[in-house]
């Protein structure tokens, strides 16, 4: 038995059939949840990252929802079927719908009382009751000495000083737009909170948040393996021994070998577009990695765009230096004229005979990887910045390579801060997607107005790009 099903206090032909089908379907959903992910993705990524909205991306949570939804779903069927039975009255004597909290822990009871608006404090509850008792014009209230009253106050009125009330404080916290519009330390405080909490959700989430926090704090510099491991430190890593830098190396290898030239079909039968570089996750930048200190190696630009979920929100595109021992192949069958719609007149990217839209990275075709191991990866490099925040430039002599050290003169506003009057709201709203609201946090940290190259100065609570250089 996978589920802890609640009792169903309804009966009838339709309800019974529905409940039986519900339980069977729920079992199937739960048992196949991970298998569906395998069907959808050729690599070890989760289904949840691909098609489902956020609350349904965890198998454990799906189980809770399915358990909780059964009674009300069955009730609706009962109402439609017209079967007799309880549910539409408040039968105090034998209500099958009562929620008995008497077996819950003291702290849980107190939280429920507090959620109801009660103070949850013995002394205060006693004083309040006594005052109301004294003023009761009808004399209906029993005295405080009544065992029932006394018991209720004693049972529930035990406040624990260290009680964690964040559950309900959270309800009171509202989105404060005014604060967001002013660059201040709100985002930094949020970064501290978030990174600490994110660690229990897994290494990638810890890493994602840790990197963002580091940006917001304006630390700058170069993140190397040891710090990277600390940023990605999570409870799951503690029990699995591998550090974030090594795990990232493995995930990167998985992305690099996930060649997908053509559209693929997900388990829902939908045709999905392939990866960024003409259908591949990698783009060969150079066949000689000597400039990176790896003679004989290759330099790849890796896109995690097609890796829905997983690394997608960590780096975006980044640079990988290999030892050159990965096996590559050349695909010369790439269409010379793009048919994907990306190169279209309405996008200002029309293909012509004079300007064909082929995207080969070698003389004879598009390079892709057919086999490689984790150990082929010798460096991973990136500059961590935001187009709706500050960006790090490498476009002038002496700027160095991505992942190298830099100075403040190389920092300027991202392209979404277009003018000296661009507001964080404008910059973040230019970025589409459901995460746009939170992107304002990064944009607000930047502040109003574009900062040109050479004008960036360190300030408290001001975001700052940094470089990442992982070596193996």
């Amino acid at each position: 038995m996978t589920f802890n099903w609640p009792d169903i206090p309804f009966s009838g032909t339709e309800v019974d059939a529905f409940v039986a089908e519900y339980k069977a379907l729920a079992e199937s959903i739960y048992n196949d949840y991970d298998d569906y992910s395998t069907t959808v993705q050729d690599v070890e990524t989760e289904i949840d990252k691909i098609i489902l909205k956020s609350p349904y991306r965890t198998k454990e949570n799906i189980k809770f929802y399915l358990e909780s939804a059964l009674v009300y779903a069955a009730f609706i069927v009962k109402q439609r079927a017209g079967n007799s039975g309880p549910g539409t009255d408040f039968d105090l004597s034998n209500s099958p719908f009562k929620i008995d909290i008497s077996s819950r822990t003291q702290s849980e009871k107190i939280k429920i009382l507090q959620a109801l608006g009660c103070v949850g404090d013995t002394e205060q509850m006693s004083k309040s009751y006594q005052e109301n008792y004294d003023k009761d014009p009808d004399g209906d209230l029993p005295p405080i000495s009544d065992p029932g009253i006394n018991g209720a106050i004693t049972d529930f009125g035990k406040r624990q000083p260290d009680d964690d009330c964040q559950d309900f404080l959270g309800i009171l916290l509202k989105h404060k737009r005014d604060e967001e519009e002013t660059p201040n330390c709100l985002t930094q405080a949020l970064g501290d909170f978030g990174h600490a909490g994110s660690r229990v959700l897994g290494w990638l989430f810890a890493l994602q948040y840790g990197l963002a926090k580091r940006y917001i704090k304006g630390t700058g510099g170069v993140v190397q393996n040891a710090e990277f491991d600390l940023l990605g430190l999570s409870s799951s890593i503690i029990s699995n021994d591998l550090g974030a830098s090594e795990r990232f190396r493995i995930e990167t290898k998985n992305v690099m070998i996930s060649a997908r030239k053509t559209n693929y079909t997900n388990f829902m039968g939908q045709s999905r577009p392939p990866s960024k570089f003409s259908g591949y996750a990698v783009n060969l930048i150079a066949s000689d990695a000597s400039a990176y200190g790896v003679p004989g190696g290759r330099v790849w630009q890796v896109s995690s765009e097609s890796q829905l979920g997983g690394l997608k929100n960590v780096f975006g595109d980044f640079i990988v230096i290999t030892d050159g021992n990965e096996t590559i192949a050349i695909d010369s069958s790439m269409p010379e004229y793009d048919t994907s719609g990306f190169y279209s007149p309405q996008h200002g990217r029309e293909c012509t005979v004079e300007r064909p839209c082929r995207d080969w990275d070698t003389e004879t075709g598009k390079a892709y990887i057919t086999s490689m191991s984790n150990s082929n990866i010798k460096q991973i490099r990136d500059d961590y910045d935001f187009d709706y925040g500050f960006e790090l430039r490498r476009n002038q002599e002496g700027d160095g390579l991505p992942g190298d050290s830099f100075d403040n003169d190389q920092i300027e506003s991202g392209p979404l801060f277009e003018t000296s009057t661009s507001t964080p709201c404008e910059a973040s709203d230019n970025t589409s997607g459901p995460a746009g609201t939170v992107r304002r946090l990064v944009a607000n940290n930047h502040g109003t107005g574009r900062t040109e190259r050479g004008d960036y100065q360190d300030e408290p609570c001001k975001g700052k790009p940094f470089a990442i250089k992982l070596t193996y």
């Binding site: 339709e14 379907l25 956020s54 965890t58 439609r80 916290l173 829902m268």
Partner: protein
């Protein structure tokens, strides 16, 4: 697990003093302190017309944004496990700062899953029927996931997106008024909606002037908003705006069918 999660999963809303509660049950919410605590509550869908809820509709990812954490969690496309005890060992000192979502976000998730299961299991378009459909388990799972999928991954060829928002008819409003954010519509001829059902809804589409303020956005409410039938020619629906009355209007109201109204009120007692 957080107490607020447990309450949300139990379909407990704790809406003390709710005017909706009192109007639908003809009594106030009650709290009795004797040997124990008793609270009366009702459960019904937050959105009684649609496949999902307003706070999780369209491109919204399912967060209700009740806490600052939810913005961050949404940004990083993560939803915490409801049962924190499942998350292996807590690093020392991090227990009190675990990212959390508000209880309304959890309630929304439960509501959406409830609807998804009803849609997957029940026959036809799943409206007004109590009969189990004859489809395969694989097919039902696809419907289940289709209900909970992001818009870009939805299949429009199967339930619920293939037929849930279909209109069942139209009626012709001839006058309309608004008082205290309740719109009252008079139609000629009769609107044709049977009072035997309380699952009716409308998508108002009026053409001119102030009357357009009564219109219903299908982006926000793809299957319309619920109505209450007053008589054969009159119905009302919630509509925010200034008090006004218009005696001559041009347009139509599309008639929709949703989940049901007060007949789906599940009465709860918490002791």
């Amino acid at each position: 697990m957080r107490t607020s999660y447990k309450l949300a999963l139990d379909n407990i809303k704790i809406a003390l003093g709710s005017s909706e509660f009192s109007s639908e049950t003809n009594q106030d919410t009650l709290v009795a302190i004797g040997s124990s605590l008793a609270v009366f509550d009702i459960n019904n869908f937050d959105d009684r017309m649609s496949v999902d809820t307003l706070s999780s509709r369209g491109v919204r990812t399912g967060f209700g944004f009740q806490s600052e954490y939810e913005y961050v969690l949404d940004f990083f496309d993560q939803f915490p496990k409801l049962n924190h005890e499942d998350v292996e060992t807590f690093p020392v000192g991090f227990g009190s700062t675990t990212p959390y979502v508000g209880y309304k976000t959890v309630q929304t998730a439960v509501e959406n899953v409830t609807k998804a299961m009803l849609l997957a299991i029940l026959d036809g378009d799943s409206k007004r029927t109590a009969n189990v459909g004859i489809g395969s388990t694989v097919g039902k799972k696809e419907i289940f996931y289709n209900c909970l999928a992001l818009p870009e991954f939805r299949l429009s060829s199967i339930k619920p997106w293939s037929n849930w928002n279909e209109s069942v008819g139209v009626c012709t409003p001839t006058s309309i008024s608004r008082s205290n954010n309740v719109a009252i519509v008079t139609t000629t001829p009769a609107h044709g909606m049977s009072s035997s059902y309380d699952d009716w809804g409308i998508i108002m589409n009026l053409n001119t002037g102030v009357a357009t303020s009564f219109n219903i956005s299908t982006t926000l409410y793809p299957n319309g908003v619920p109505i209450k039938i007053i008589d054969a020619n009159t119905f009302s629906y919630t509509n925010y705006g200034i008090n006004t009355s218009i005696t001559s209007i041009v347009g139509i109201a599309s008639i929709q069918v949703g989940w049901g109204g007060t007949s789906n009120n599940l009465h709860r007692q918490i002791i």
